[in-house]
Symmetry: none
DNA sequence: AATGAATGAGGTTTCATTCAT
DNA sequence: TATGAATGAAACCTCATTCAT
């Protein structure tokens, strides 16, 4: 303890180590792309030995997938929180809230999204996209409540999510300039059209 | 030399060789992903030596980009041809024709699209997506003709293209079962909503 | 703690743990070779943690050596027991007994022998091979008793042991088919020739 | 050509490169053991890039096997040459010649033998040992000529080869001191006994 | 235009061993 | 006595790219 240099082999809860590795990987993937990031750089970033990586992940692809899942989980949690805060609102407002939250989250994490999901090969089949799934649930609820008319909520959810994603991508690639408010507003309008009927 | 066994080094027009390499690469990229396809496999597929690759492309990334351009060129040509065939039709029908052609093309080449464009890093700025650009032009024409009401045709084009893309992806990933006709019909409806007004 | 589920860290006598580790190692070395067996597999086989290995052996090489010693000890004990049972017999019969016991043991543990002794690097000098040493002692005794004529018992012992070993290897590699009795008989004949004189 | 430093990428006939790699590997395997020799060291020794190794061998194990085959081939060729030189001699003399040649070759390449064949896992089944096979052929010829009496030449060949091998190993491990002439003589005697009958 | 042997940096992964608990 | 997370050196191998022919 006299010298602070070699006290390294510090055991940490697996969960914590895993998080640290994922954080390091996320930063590096973002900075230099996935292909150009080496496992060695990730472990250096997390301040552990290279072998430690393989105690927690089976490969670089594995940590990449974990990052994707973590992102989606947080995204959905965010949407649910926003919806919860608007629990008293009308259905159209709920939809607007959903669009606003999703757009904001996308714009704030744009490169992350690109990095995580615009990669080949895609995560083979992690089931239906949970974000679109979340929208689908909202659409169904609104339809069941008689607020909207929709014959295929899943189709509509996927379509709208795709549209939103496309718009946000375009913005993130710098091909469009637009205020976030204006963007959100336009997206809300498109969503609104697709649920068919005004609330009241 | 007496027997024709070693007559292989047959020179071909550069254009032809280039095509053969691209075809081989396309098949392989589709089958195994870009990262896992080696230049050696591409040249083997095109039945040329490894060095020949670099006579026609400067790198693997280069052929990837060339593949993308070729695909988009053909896609847009297809859309234009479809539109030309419908030159006498009304605007809404033109839009329906566009959606039908785009959907068909996507479904027939879906994995190719994913492979070519869902890859990181994206070409930094090859201008706006030419397919969405094509749609935008259609929307503008329809608006200028007074058939539709749109305050931002580019936004709408990108949004609708994104939606279509999302739907088709979902289908291609096998997450949805639906007849192509029904799919097209639904997409047409969503597109129609977004152009605001019936042609009347 | 309420339930007896985590009562695992049960201390055992060192000797027992050592044996268990050696047994696990022996099985694995046989199955997959020494180089391809990891310490982790050995400890898993013995149902202890990895660190425990180093409480009982200083290295993988160490356990390998221990295995060799254990095998030789048992082998020699077996030979001595067989010889003891034949203490009243004549010298040629004793030799036949030795050959029979050695052949049997070899055939039953052949791959073990190969694994233990055909490995590089060999233990630099653990003295002469104790099994050949045992044979040498027998040859010397017979010679001293005037039963056999041998000018260099060690040479003969090593030669005969090598021959026996070669034959058994061949059989174990499946290259020869022969009944054990026939094999033993032939080996006995070769041994007999080499001790020079009939007992008469 | 002004500077001698960067004229490296010199293409050589595959056969030559292969030999150079094998020579480098042989030296290193001998010096430091197989396990401790890295492919990098082998290629450095052969003055080629690391990747070049894998153009000629699929793995370290592969070059090891190739070394073994090369050694056995040369060994057998040597035996055949010695026998050819003694083509006019009697059968017992031929046998003596065989033993002498085999012993000399073994002693001169002892560590090589150890390195190549005392390794686990053994080459799985490259058929019967060609050296013993060569001896077997000699024994059969002598028996067919009526010079010797042998009921199972293969058995005898394997046995004698094993014996010779055992003796030579012992010597090479430094456990025995003996002049080569004396050693050869004793081995010849043992071989002679095993072919049953004096020639005439 | 075409070849393909050679390059060599850099990748992923393994595993014997240590040591704080 | 026992644990097992952590280490980190080193191994094997791949492959985009070059260049002498």
């Amino acid at each position: 303890m006299s010298i602070a240099s070699k006290q390294r082999p510090r055991t940490k809860p697996a969960e914590e180590r895993r998080e640290e590795l994922m954080n390091a990987a996320e930063v590096l993937f973002l900075e230099k792309g996935i292909g150009s990031t080496t496992v060695g750089e990730i472990t250096a970033g997390a301040d552990v030995a290279k072998g430690t990586f393989y105690l927690h992940f089976s490969s670089k692809e594995d940590i990449h997938a974990a990052l994707g899942e973590r992102f989606v989980r947080a995204f959905v949690a965010d949407l649910e929180a926003a919806l919860a805060r608007a629990s008293k609102a009308g259905w159209n407002e709920k939809l607007a809230v959903w669009v606003k939250a999703a757009t904001a989250r996308f714009l704030d994490n744009g490169s992350l999204v690109n990095m995580l999901f615009h990669t080949h090969p895609r995560p083979p089949d992690d089931g239906p996209n949970p974000i679109a799934g979340n929208l689908k649930a909202l659409l169904e609820a609104g339809r069941d409540a008689g607020a909207w008319s929709l014959d295929d909520p899943e189709f509509t959810a996927v379509f709208l999510f795709g549209g939103l994603h496309g718009i946000v991508d375009e913005v993130l690639l710098g091909k469009k300039r637009a205020s976030r408010a204006r963007l959100t507003q336009r997206l809300q309008r498109h969503f609104q059209w697709s649920v068919g009927l005004p609330e009241a």
